[in-house]
């Protein structure tokens, strides 16, 4: 299992490169298709990754209805298990926009453009936490050596990249530092894995952990935050740069930025525990890019 887990973890990066090439090829076709669609009443497809807390059907339905009514076109929410799948859909032009993590955005920033960035507790930033079970005696990252670690997703900034970068700083890699590790493909799953002692530690989105602490305290009470990362750019909503000027995407951006100005929009934002969406510059993700550049040399 550990060997397989490691190979999965590192093959992700190579796979990402392949996807980038494939995505680049597909984007030209997607660009043409997208433009044709922009003139029709075809549905607008928005990809969602497990960066959001509340992914239940009722919320997603309300989310789709909100934008569908304002766009005058059907909105379809596309969900996939991994970031990689959503990123591939976005890069291939099969969806108009996607709520992705900062890490895939940085990996494909030359071909992607920011639509909007959530503002959380007053700023478009969040942290990555390394958590341990509440009774784990470890006081620092060093105490986790030779233990089992749970990552969220190989394309997650907070759920993989940050911890990988921390280990890089001490000249270690997940494979050399942990006895084994695995991916849960969900931040809440990371918390569950650590709380159940399936893994002794985990890398989790700080925003998700904080919200879980409010809505599901028994789960987070079984865990403890061992390390908080520096603040980094919040997972953004992005689109293909080539399609950024399409009316649907422009209109979507406008709706997102104005959500906090009306009641139903604020309700949706409240469900997500977000303040609002903001138009932020690309260099918001410079911190993540730095981490990415640092660990990329390991590959």
């Amino acid at each position: 299992m550990p060997r397989d887990g490691r190979s999965t973890g590192f093959s992700v990066i190579r796979l990402d490169r392949r996807l980038a090439v494939i995505g680049g090829v597909l984007s030209f076709a997607g660009l043409a298709v997208g433009r044709a669609r922009a003139q029709s009443s075809d549905p607008v497809r928005i990809g969602i990754t497990p960066v959001v807390i509340d992914s239940d059907v009722a919320f997603l339905d309300r989310f789709a209805t909100y934008f569908s009514g304002r766009l005058g076109r059907p909105v379809i929410i596309e969900q996939r298990r991994t970031y990689q799948e959503i990123t591939a859909l976005l890069l291939s032009g099969q969806i108009e926009a996607a709520w992705i993590c900062g890490y895939p955005y940085v990996q494909h920033r030359d071909r992607l453009k920011l639509v909007a960035v959530p503002v959380y507790r007053g700023e478009p930033l969040y942290q990555s936490y390394v958590i341990v079970a509440a009774d784990n005696p470890a006081q620092s990252l060093g105490g986790l050596r030779n233990q089992i670690h749970a990552f969220s997703d190989p394309d997650s900034n907070s759920g993989f990249l940050v911890t990988r970068w921390l280990l890089h700083q001490i000249h270690e890699s997940p494979r050399s530092f942990f006895s084994s590790y695995f991916f849960t493909y969900g931040h809440r799953n990371v918390v569950r894995a650590v709380a159940a002692d399936l893994a002794q530690s985990g890398s989790v989105d700080g925003y998700v952990w904080d919200i879980l602490q409010q809505i599901e305290p028994p789960l987070t009470d079984a865990t403890r935050i061992l390390h908080r990362s520096q603040k980094l750019g919040f997972p953004p909503i992005a689109c293909l740069a080539a399609r950024a000027e399409e009316p649907a995407i422009v209109q979507l951006k406008s709706l997102l930025l104005e959500m906090d100005r009306e009641e139903s929009g604020r309700e949706l934002l409240a469900n997500l525990h977000l303040d609002r969406f903001a138009d932020e510059p690309e260099d918001l993700f410079a911190g993540i890019a730095t981490l990415y550049d640092a660990v990329r040399s390991d590959a």
Binding site: M1, D4, G5, S179, Y185, N189, A196, L198, A199
Partner: protein, 473 residues
């Protein structure tokens, strides 16, 4: 123990047996029910747990093949939390290299630790209220892992205990109820037996009393028939008793007749001499020698007559008035048998060792001895010897009569030996039967012994000072 059990009345014994049988049947039935329940529960558990594990194995097989720790845990955790009719305590996925891929209880079975495959069959540990089973997952004939499970069966064990408690209570109550009902029913059924026993118990000296019709009116048919037979038997016995008494009376009259005849003979013998003496006196009264011989002859004759008369008077005076037995009362009996003895030229050897009067019913003793002596004289051949012996030793009067006859027939001997013996069918033996009744009234016993050289001894032992038995007899 057995003797004590035999002494317990039927009205207790039968309900007890019913209760024991009910309890035994209850225990046997309970054992069968519990065994069946256990088998059913095991079958139920096997089916449900197999079904549950099959579902889990199907869901988890792809994740095990991918070595996906989280997905495997997620499936196992959800299955363990599902809370269906089978509640797994834990579910653990084991890889072919015997390492744990994931468990619903990671603290108990940490990822990567060693855990061997287990036997797939369901095994139940009632003490810890758990069951274990496993399902080996294969793909195209290759083993890719095993799902091992522990199932909490506390509910099933509790149901089994509850069933056992219920069976004990119900069977106990049923046994008690049936024992109670059995007791009442048996008491009711045996009531006629108690009445019969009471009436038979009132029988004295072989004279049973009939059961009144009014009492048997409500009895079951069988007991009524029994009571009828019993009443017929009592009537027959009473009739025979009356007949025997009549015959005894006739025998007594016959004896009196014989005695009277003997007495007349005894009186007549000296009477002839005395008449001759009177004639001598008339003719030779002046002769002093002749006169003296005649007067002496008359005196001897009168003395003989006086002895005979006196013994008859003593023998047939009211027996209830006799309070003691004088030594002479026995000696007088020699006169009463003198005629029978002399008729058959029998020698009488008489030994009376009584020194003073003793406190027994003298009349009854005399009648018993007279009967035995007359029988002995009748049984002894002509010119034979009859022996009598009497002595008082301690608190008892011992007497013996021996003859030289052919021996006393067993039915006759039984008349003397057996308490409450029935009177003989004919007149033969009535004397002995009467003697036996008198003897029992005196509280005495008789022992009959036949001698090898012929003849019979009858030994009598009569307690002294026991006349109070009269009242009880």
């Amino acid at each position: 123990m057995i003797a004590r059990w035999r002494r317990i009345p039927l009205s207790v014994k039968i309900p007890l047996l019913v209760a024991v049988l009910m309890l035994s049947a209850g225990v046997a039935a309970s054992a069968v029910v519990l065994k069946r329940l256990e088998a059913d529960q095991e079958s139920y558990l096997r089916n449900l747990s197999t079904s549950m594990l099959d579902g889990v194995a199907l869901a988890v097989a792809p994740t095990i093949m991918r070595r996906d720790v989280w997905e495997t845990f997620d499936v196992l955790d959800r299955a363990a939390q599902a809370g269906g009719r089978v509640r797994p305590t834990w579910l653990t996925a084991i890889l072919p290299d015997n390492t744990v891929l994931a468990s619903s209880q990671p603290r108990r079975f940490p990822v990567g630790t060693q855990l061997a495959f287990v036997a797939p069959d369901l095994s139940i540990d009632a003490a810890s209220e758990t069951a274990h089973l496993a399902r080996t997952i294969q793909q195209a004939g290759t083993t890719v892992g095993q799902i091992s499970a522990e199932i909490h069966i506390g509910d099933l064990i509790a149901a089994r205990r509850q069933a056992l408690r219920t069976l004990i209570i119900v069977n106990g109550l049923l046994a008690l109820t049936f024992a109670g009902l059995g007791y009442l029913a048996v008491r009711l059924l045996l009531r006629p037996v108690a009445s019969l026993t009471a009436h038979v118990g009132e029988t004295r000296a072989g004279v049973p009393r009939p059961i009144p019709r009014s009492l048997t009116a409500g009895w079951p048919q069988e007991f009524q028939a029994l009571a009828d037979r019993y009443n017929r038997m009592t009537s027959a016995a009473a009739e025979r008793d009356a007949l025997a008494a009549q015959l005894a009376e006739e025998e007594k009259v016959a004896v009196i007749g014989r005695l009277a005849s003997g007495m007349a003979h005894e009186v007549n013998n000296p009477l002839g001499g005395m008449m001759t003496a009177l004639d001598t006196l008339k003719v030779h009264g002046d002769n002093p020698a002749a006169r003296a011989r005649s007067i002496a002859l008359v005196e001897r004759g009168l003395l003989g007559i006086r002895n005979v008369v006196r013994s008859v008077l003593v023998s047939y005076k009211d027996s209830t008035t006799a309070s003691t037995l004088d030594p002479g009362d026995l000696d007088d009996l020699q006169f009463l048998v003198a005629h029978e003895r002399s008729r058959r030229q029998i020698r009488l050897v008489w030994t009376n060792a009584l020194q003073s009067p003793i406190d027994v019913d003298g009349g009854a003793v005399r009648q018993v001895v007279l009967n035995l002596l007359l029988n002995a004289c009748a049984a002894t051949p002509v010119r034979g010897t009859v022996t009598f012996m009497a002595l008082a030793k301690g608190d008892h009067l011992h007497m013996a009569v021996r003859d030289e006859g052919n021996g006393l027939p067993a039915p006759m001997a039984n008349l003397l030996n057996t308490a409450d013996a029935q009177p003989p069918a004919g007149s033969h033996g009535l004397g002995l039967w009467s003697a036996a009744r008198l003897l029992r009234r005196l509280g005495g016993t008789a022992t009959v012994r036949s001698h090898a050289r012929g003849g019979t001894s009858i030994r009598l032992v009569i307690p002294i000072g026991r006349r109070t038995l009269d009242a009880a007899a």
